[in-house]
């Protein structure tokens, strides 16, 4: 469906600022662009991946890791500096733009302020040649799906950020394209609507084999993805299904113990199988101390830990074994590449 091989992207040019204008600017830009003094940064470095039909593919990375650039390149908005992007076997941008629909992060700012929500959808659909009765039905159907029916006649300025985000999503869906890109879709959505959105993406992928690619740093969004790609500073540091990515860390069990703050002298290194321990005091008026223990499965026994607490009479508020979070897995692969911060797991 989508095949990228050795794709990389270099941004060149100057930081555009709002206050400069006139001849001074023209000369400055002219000189800068002709001389190669212009600043340049590699947003994407040599990424190869292929995504097949009906798959939900996730891209996880911190702000500025290049998620948006990658998505823009696949949706025909941005050319590659080197390497090729193939969608359904073709690489020309016009074809890409006609087979892909792209929902950008701050897309809500790209809405037409003088129009109401519904009119925005209709204008956008006209942009892609959809019109008439078929468009109206599709509008109603999608607005109902996103729970926007009663807000559809409000002007954009009267809608909250979350509602505006829903319209950008509706804009993407109305085109009924085989591939949809969600760029940080649930950034200003509340719990209820982001949950509905996730269900919508899943049913969409199953029913009409629509490939969805989600770039996000919100772990719930990425939980529904069949495969995940970790991105850091433009490079792909890991690729695979959630379980594959977790495998190297499967042997690690994480136990979180919450104790009252007073107990400073907790020393768990003596227990067998303990790889590393992180003490973090959690703020808020219930000031307790959370101890995260990363232990090797098999060697570590919970009971030894419990006995330790019992003997040293340390009051325990809570003990729970925690699931590894996506962020921790990401940091594990980050540390594999040597740039991540000091990481306790390994």
């Amino acid at each position: 469906m989508i095949v990228l091989n050795k794709v990389s992207k270099q941004y060149k040019g100057i930081l555009v600022n709002k206050n400069d204008s006139g001849i001074y600017l023209w000369i400055k830009n002219f000189l800068k662009l002709t001389s190669n003094k212009a600043t340049s940064l590699w947003a994407i470095k040599n990424i190869s991946v292929s995504i097949d039909k009906g798959e939900i593919f996730g891209i996880y990375g911190a702000n500025g890791a290049g998620k948006t650039t990658l998505i823009k390149m696949i949706s025909g908005l941005l050319g590659t500096t080197s390497g090729t992007v193939e969608i359904l076997g073709r690489t020309d941008p016009k074809h890409m733009k006609d087979t892909v629909s792209y929902i950008s992060t701050n897309g809500w700012m790209g809405l037409e302020w003088p129009l109401t929500a519904r009119e925005n959808l209709i204008l956008y659909a006209n942009l892609f040649g959809i019109s008439g009765r078929r468009l109206d039905e599709k509008c109603n159907e999608i607005l109902k799906m996103l729970g926007m029916t009663e807000a559809q006649d409000k002007f954009i300025s009267q809608l909250s950020a979350g509602m505006r985000q829903k319209i950008t999503i509706a804009r993407g869906l109305i085109l009924d394209r085989p591939i949809i890109f969600y760029d940080e879709p649930s950034v200003s959505l509340d719990l209820q609507s982001s949950r509905n959105l996730r269900e919508l993406i899943q049913t969409d992928a199953v029913q009409n084999q629509r490939t969805a690619i989600i770039a996000s740093h919100n772990t719930e969004d990425l939980a529904i993805c069949n495969r995940l790609m970790f991105l850091s500073k433009g490079e792909m540091i890991a690729l695979g299904t959630l379980d594959e990515l977790k495998k190297p860390l499967n042997s690690i069990q994480i136990i979180e113990v919450n104790c009252p703050n007073a107990m400073q002298n907790i020393d768990l290194s003596s227990l067998s199988g303990v790889k590393s321990v992180i003490y973090t005091s959690v703020e808020g008026k219930r000031d307790y101390q959370s101890i995260k223990i990363y232990a090797q499965k098999g060697e570590f026994s919970l009971n030894a830990l419990l006995d330790y607490f019992v003997e040293s009479n340390i009051a325990v508020l809570e003990i729970k074994s925690k699931e590894i979070t996506l962020q921790e897995i990401y940091e594990y692969y980050l540390s594999l590449r040597g740039e991540g911060e000091r990481n306790e797991i390994v």
């Binding site: 600022n17 204008s21 006139g22 001849i23 001074y24």
Partner: protein, 291 residues
């Protein structure tokens, strides 16, 4: 002591605007060229009438000097009257009005401070117009009574700024959110543009327009400037409708009296309406865009 803080804040605003202006040198070349081209066009127009014995009593006979003085007042009014509204709009669209309101300073200071950029931009343009006229296009000036000229300058500054404040207050008071705004537009782009007589003596205008022109400070300021600074300018014959109506007062002193009245009315009114505007916006929740 409180006033000291306001003054301190004003200095800080102007320092910020200066840093921004200096860091970009804005389009310094641009407004030099703009002023030059405008003066060129009028110089060419004066050539059209070269052969004839052009005379526009009581303002002497040098058309370039006549027009250049018009440009002088035009650029001053362009800032004082034209700037307050877009500045308030910028604070609104930038979402910083909330933050300014959280400070104990008066509502007025941020708006006044940001105006400083207009001063750096446009006041030099007025002087430049005079310079171009004098150096390149043969304008000739006489400085008969500098004290009165200075007084006139101050009065025109205050009165145009007063009207500017009234127009700024309409941003919130009448909830005009786009950047074109009636009060400024009606005053600046219609009445003043037509009736102030920047580029032609108002005797050319039909009488109703002349009467309309007597409601703006520019006609009086220009009348006085032109009588005093153009060689051959006559000080006694009345020209403006008000001057004709009140023959007993000499035109120059009448100009000054009217300008004083206009300043004393427009500035306090502008301040009062501006504060009321913000109060109203506070009630409607239209203080900033980030609803």
């Amino acid at each position: 002591m409180k006033l000291y803080k306001e003054w301190d804040a004003l200095k800080m605003f102007s320092k910020r605007e200066l840093i921004i202006w200096l860091s970009y040198k804005m389009n310094a070349i641009m407004w030099v060229l703009d002023t030059l081209f405008t003066t060129i066009i009028f110089f060419m127009l004066s050539l059209v009438t070269r052969g004839s014995d052009i005379n526009f009593f009581p303002y002497g006979n040098n058309y370039v000097t006549f027009v250049v003085l018009g440009l002088f007042v035009h650029f001053i009014s362009f800032t004082n009257l034209g700037d307050p509204f877009p500045r308030v709009a910028r604070i609104y669209w930038g979402g910083t009005m909330d933050l300014y309101l959280l400070s104990p300073l008066s509502y007025f200071t941020p708006m006044l401070g940001i105006m400083f950029r207009g001063v750096i931009d446009d006041y030099p343009r007025s002087i430049l117009a005079l310079l171009f006229g004098w150096l390149l296009f043969g304008a000739v000036f006489t400085f008969q009574s500098p004290m009165i000229l200075l007084l006139l300058l101050i009065l025109i500054l205050i009165s145009t700024f007063g009207i500017g404040m009234i127009s700024a207050s309409s941003f919130y008071l009448f909830n005009f959110k786009q950047n074109t705004e009636p009060v400024k537009f009606i005053f600046q782009d219609v009445i003043i543009a037509l009736t102030a007589g920047y580029y032609y003596p108002i005797s050319v205008l039909p009488y109703p327009l002349q009467v309309l022109g007597s409601f703006i400070p520019h006609s009086y300021a220009l009348d006085a400037f032109r009588r005093l600074m153009i060689p051959g300018g006559d000080l006694l014959t009345p020209v403006l409708p008000l001057q004709i109506a009140m023959q007993n007062i000499s035109p120059i002193s009448l100009d000054i009296i009217v300008l004083v009245i206009m300043s004393l009315v427009s500035l306090p009114l502008g301040w009062f309406m501006y504060v009321k505007g913000i109060e109203k916006a506070r009630k409607d929740g239209t203080l900033t865009r980030w609803q």
